[in-house]
Amino acid sequence: MAGRWMNFGMYRAEGVPGRDALAAGVERMVTGIASPADTDRGIAARLRYLTASHAGYQAMERAGINVTRRTLHAWLAEERSPTPANRAKLDDAYWDLRRHNVAADLKRRLMSQGGTRIEIDPVDQSRVERRHRRDLQVRHLNVRPRIWDAAVNAWLEEDESTLDAIWDDLIHDLGSDYDSYSYVSSIGWNA
């Protein structure tokens, strides 16, 4: 992580690392089943999604769902309903698979039209004493397709160090005070 924020938060600035804000922004673009996993409707929809493909069964395996075929059929037929522990696992498996499935679409949305322009909201310094404040503005950056490609891949693999490297690389374009943006309060874009 770049920057002269040696001890971030020492003077009560508030923010999150840029990599986290970037990942959260990609995460916000993911949509899926709206019903929560603790409702019958939500569980039925998740089961239907997960049992529709081979990748779905693999996702369930990765999430640690070890049930017999018989149990799975009983869940699908809604004769029995999963235990709370299994519901949580089903939810994890669903979102895992969903992220993999929508990644290509997210990339397309972010990369078409030559990339996407992002808005960077600097850290919140309202509680910082005036003499310790930095002069920070809202900044905009054009993020190019190859960077989005790498960023979405890193987000998918939850690879924090790559995301961090990508963010450091990006904010170099902001000029001499780039390292003030290694922490931000939020990032947004339209894609």
Partner: protein, 466 residues
């Protein structure tokens, strides 16, 4: 017989006047020379003020039935204020301004013994007037006109594509309303002083717990009926249901926070800032008026927006003293301006007024889609990812409700009985509402609500026995 001949004579007189119709600049000069305002002329002639403005800029030409009255007015004004064809005597007025403004171009002194102006002097005068005319239209006017043409251009484009089929053009326009209004908004911000934040970090109170669940902000939507009256066919009070026009468009003029909201717990209201506030509302002791907090059933603290807070503070102020000032516990605010969406509002309002004056339903419909969708999607919406400002959305809506409350209060003060105030724009009044509001479709006017079959909504109420 005589009546018919009179009609013919009148037509002939109108035709004679139409043949000698003054050019647009002269129309403007005559009105200004007489010191008349556009609404005055418009009222006398029976058109919208914007139409008179269009006649005076030459955008449109007067057409019957208003043409006759307008020409008669111009004819009369021309007799009172004749065209200054000849230079006025020096004793009458100070020297023409041309001499002062254009020192390098010598203007021959207008001596009374030389009634005819020389060609050079005439050229100087014309040049001066053109120059003044150009200076009067500022670059802001130009920008506004250009942006207005973005809207009319889109309508023209879709109508051409649809081959003149208004229905399908309207559908297409409704679909592109959100990206179009965002483009228009961005264009109005091009030369603006403040850079706003489109994707700020939001405090938790502005986050929806789920996609389909609301956040904590109370917008003070009214849904109120007078408790002392009930609807009755033999009632003695006659009620008219009124609608405010384009309520959300008017509400765009409101104090909006520019940047990210910051927390404070000082409990004081800063007039230069705007946002959302945690208050304990004062009790409301006026059963004949809706509460400015809307139909809230819960007592106790709640989060309200800037628009509602300003209304409460105004009503608690020395002018009204209708309630106690609210107790402010916490605030999330940012430095604010009231003119943030004003450029956009003005453009849309002008296009809307022009469309209504010329009976252009397609444009009016499109403008409505633009401002209403702009307000409804500026929070978190998958249909509009250009901006995520739920605080603005709440404030604009709350402003619309506050405006409606203001109208109810105005009617109440004028002696009318407010029977009901509902939703964004609905106001039911007993008594002669024409004494308070003008009827029409302008932003400051009210129109009579019509039911599904287009019949105006009137009913009677009786005092309930309590």
């Amino acid at each position: 017989m005589g009546g018919e001949l009179e009609g013919v004579e009148a037509l002939l007189a109108e035709a004679r006047r139409a043949a000698a119709m003054p050019d647009p600049a002269e129309r403007l000069r005559l009105r200004q020379a007489a010191g008349l305002s556009r609404p005055q002329v418009a009222g006398a002639v029976g058109v919208e003020p914007q139409t008179v403005a269009n006649w005076e800029t030459g955008r449109t030409e007067p057409a019957p039935p208003a043409r006759g009255k307008y020409l008669r007015l111009l004819e009369g004004l021309a007799e009172i204020h004749p065209t200054p064809k000849e230079p006025r005597p020096a004793t009458d007025e100070p020297a023409p301004r041309a001499a002062a403004d254009l020192p390098r171009q010598p203007v021959p002194p207008a001596a009374p013994q030389h009634p005819a102006e020389s060609p050079a002097a005439r050229a100087a005068r014309a040049g001066h007037e053109r120059h003044q005319e150009r200076r009067r239209t500022t670059s802001a006017d130009h920008t506004r006109e250009e942006l207005g043409q973005l809207v009319t251009g889109a309508v023209h484009e879709e109508l051409t594509k649809a081959g003149g089929d208004a229905e399908s053009a309207m559908d297409k326009l409704a679909k592109r309303a959100i990206p179009d209004v965002m483009r228009l908004f961005a264009a109005t911000r091009k030369t603006a002083r403040y850079e706003y934040t489109a994707y700020p970090a939001l405090p938790d109170i502005l986050r929806k717990p789920r996609k389909d669940a609301p956040d904590l902000i109370w917008e003070a939507r009214p849904s109120w009926r007078h408790p002392g009256h009930r609807r009755h066919p033999d009632g003695d009070l006659h009620v008219t249901a009124l609608d405010a026009n384009a309520a959300y468009l008017s509400a765009m003029k409101t104090w909006l926070p520019i940047g990210r909201l910051e927390h404070s717990a000082t409990g004081e209201h800063d007039k230069k800032r705007s946002g959302v506030h945690l208050i304990t509302p004062p009790p409301w002791h006026h059963p004949e008026l809706p509460s400015p907090l809307g139909d809230r059933e819960e007592a106790g603290p709640l989060w309200i927006t800037e628009a509602t807070l300003r209304l409460l503070l105004r009503l608690a102020g020395p002018k009204h003293r209708l309630l106690d000032p609210p107790v402010i516990h916490e605030s999330w605010t940012s430095s604010a301006t009231e003119n943030f969406l004003d450029a956009l509002r003005q453009i849309l309002a002008t296009v809307r007024a022009n469309a209504l004056a010329s009976g252009d339903d397609v444009t009016a419909h499109y403008v409505k889609a633009m401002y209403s969708k702009f307000v409804s999607t500026m929070g978190e919406s998958h249909n509009n990812r250009d901006i995520t400002r739920p605080d603005w959305m709440h404030i604009v809506r709350a402003q619309a409700f506050a405006n409606l409350w203001g109208r109810a209060f105005k009617a109440h003060q004028a002696g009318l009985t407010v029977i009901s105030a509902m939703g964004t724009d609905e106001l039911h009044l007993a008594g002669d509402w024409h004494t308070v509001f003008t009827e029409g479709r302008g932003l400051s006017e009210m129109k009579v609500k019509t039911d599904r079959d287009g019949v105006p909504v009137h009913y009677t109420v009786a005092r309930s026995s309590r």
